[in-house]
Symmetry: C2
Subunit: 336 residues, 2 copies
DNA sequence: CTCTTTTACGTAAACGTTTACGTAGAGTGG
DNA sequence: CCACTCTACGTAAACGTTTACGTAAAAGAG
């Protein structure tokens, strides 16, 4: 069994209170006893028990992160950012993947509650009433990452999807394209679906280009297969378009693949711009032009916000809208 | 503040011992009091404090996972498997990314020790003496994932890299190629580097093909850039080869990209087989033929092993060599 | 030199559980 | 109806810390 504070106290010939004080740098000990205690600690290799500390301090220095899925490539970077910042601030991260399943999510929340974690980061999913109420009862701070809640006052960090989509579309317009299509995610998705569609439409409108429903494909999700299918439909439905805005990089990969399989040259025949800037975007063939979210930074920011709330005791903190940027690579070409 | 067992006891008119007994289904209470207690629990929404439980039971139902980096695409699937199995078995997962930094790793180990986690999964990195000794002192079980230790008796789960590399090479040979190159990782990497090189050489030898050092490029790591550079060197150095074994999928992507940029047709001019079967392998252009590791399954297996050790109290458990498989897609072609 | 303040501790309670032990009452066998 | 065994509890200690409170000695003020 590992040594306890008692062992240290006994060996150093002081009380456990004194040991605790030097451990936590609280006033009330002389330089001499400090040296003595530290020496014993060193000698025994004593390390304090965070569980016992957690019990009395009501603080576990652990936060929970809920992802809908661990397979999406977005989460890697988010997690990376969160973990880096959390560790920097002295906390550990427990990951949970809910598979976008309400029941599973509630089970996880219960587990996290029992573990008495300090805070929650909720990623890329809709914050249902049930979740919100439960977390509220837990009485710990929460921040949303890459999602937001219209119903509840929960701070979030995101990019402005509508602006970003607007930028992407505008970028294509500026390259001389005027027949532009979009492969969007679900139009019922209020977080990642609708705003991007809105941004797309708005950019067209602002450029005086008529929008027709034929130019947009609504897929179910934001995955590779959706891109593959979406591209097929779009090409059939609107063969005249010369550029496409894909609502995610994975969709763009699907579109790229379909194009490759059917002899459509990218960007010669049609230009494609993606959304996300996943690490593999630059590995694509050809390297994918995309509007990038600062994924790692977003993760870091979410973690910082959480710790800010933790320290200040505030239940709310300012939302953060991080800037997107367009990464010009090789899937978009000026229209001749 | 959340309710405690005392609140439940008082409200139910029993002692805390009784509440604890019904919570843990230990004998010593009547059906009637059980109902009564459960009713109060329901009513208050009481949930036990896992921290207090951890303190007295010396078990936190939490395991730690150490990754060298969270950005590699392998970890997503590993983590997915680990988290799924751990959760199934009632434990949470704390992720740590050590950035392959010894000092950082030790810091993490110390943190995990203080948190009194139940076990450790150590992924894709060399188990240094320092780490091993420390974990040993912690007195908790550990399993290695996608790595192994020659120096210490630690159970691991892996695929047989040498066999897998042999299979990959053999696959190319069977397609009629006899000038085969390899872009390997570091030859000093005893886990992922050397065995794959050995398998490659052995397959050539068994087919009676002379091996020349010109046909192999030793890169530093297993990333995209390594593939890009490696392909360039290889093409310059040995233009006669018709097929390439890439020691990782990311390397293969790099090679694919270089080929694309320089008008080398894959698989018409040269065939490529990768290693890993990352989820993006099938999104490549063209879809990447590769020898696949069952990544998620490996993660699950590692977690199962850890829990087996935890339950049985054994310090050791059988190693698991999981089968690899060749995924035939479109980057390898029969040689005319 | 005396009185007060400060310093440097020690003692013990508290955090929320589990569990060994004790005990009163019910049930059982003869 | 007695002796015994169960059953169904309650009491209190323990897990490893932190911290409020008490106190003796040292330091400082006059």
């Amino acid at each position: 069994m590992a040594y306890t504070i008692k062992d240290v106290a006994k060996k150093a010939g002081v009380s456990i209170a004194t040991v605790s004080r030097v451990l936590n740098n609280q006033p009330g000990f002389s330089e001499k006893t400090k040296k003595k205690v530290q020496h014993v600690i060193e000698e025994l290799g004593y390390e304090p028990n965070a569980v016992a500390r957690g019990l009395i301090n009501n603080k576990t220095h652990t936060i929970g992160v809920l992802f809908p899925e661990l397979s999406s490539m977005l989460v890697t970077d988010f997690l990376n950012g969160i973990e880096t910042m959390a560790h920097e601030l002295g906390s550990s991260v427990i990951v949970c993947h809910t598979e976008a399943d309400g029941e599973k999510t509630m089970k996880y929340l219960q587990l996290l509650n029992e573990k008495r974690i300090d805070g929650i980061i909720f990623v890329s999913a809709i914050l249902k009433e049930e979740y919100y109420n439960y977390i509220r009862k837990m009485g710990i701070p929460m921040v949303l990452l890459s999602t937001e809640s219209y119903a509840y006052p929960v701070p979030y960090v995101k990019v402005n999807d509508q602006h970003a989509a607007y930028s992407a579309t505008k970028y294509l317009l500026n390259k001389g394209h005027n027949k532009i299509g979009m492969i969007s995610g679900s139009k019922d998705d209020l977080i990642a679906g609708k705003p991007r569609i809105m941004g797309f439409k708005m950019a067209l409108k602002d450029s005086g280009i008529a929008f027709t429903e034929d130019n947009i494909i609504y897929s179910k999700g934001f995955g590779f297969q959706d891109g593959l299918d979406g591209m097929e439909k779009l090409m059939k439905q609107s063969p005249e378009i010369s550029a496409i805005f894909a609502a995610s990089d994975e969709i763009a990969f699907g579109a790229l693949s379909f194009a490759y399989q059917h002899g459509i040259k990218i960007p010669d025949d049609v230009s494609i711009i993606g959304y996300d800037n996943l690490s593999i975007a630059e590995m694509a063939i050809p390297p994918l032009t995309t509007v990038g979210q600062p994924l790692i930074k977003m993760g870091k920011t979410a973690a910082s916000m959480l710790f800010e709330m933790l320290e200040s005791g505030n239940v709310f903190v300012e939302n953060r809208i991080l800037p997107h940027e367009i990464l010009e690579r090789e899937t978009v070409r000026e229209k001749r």
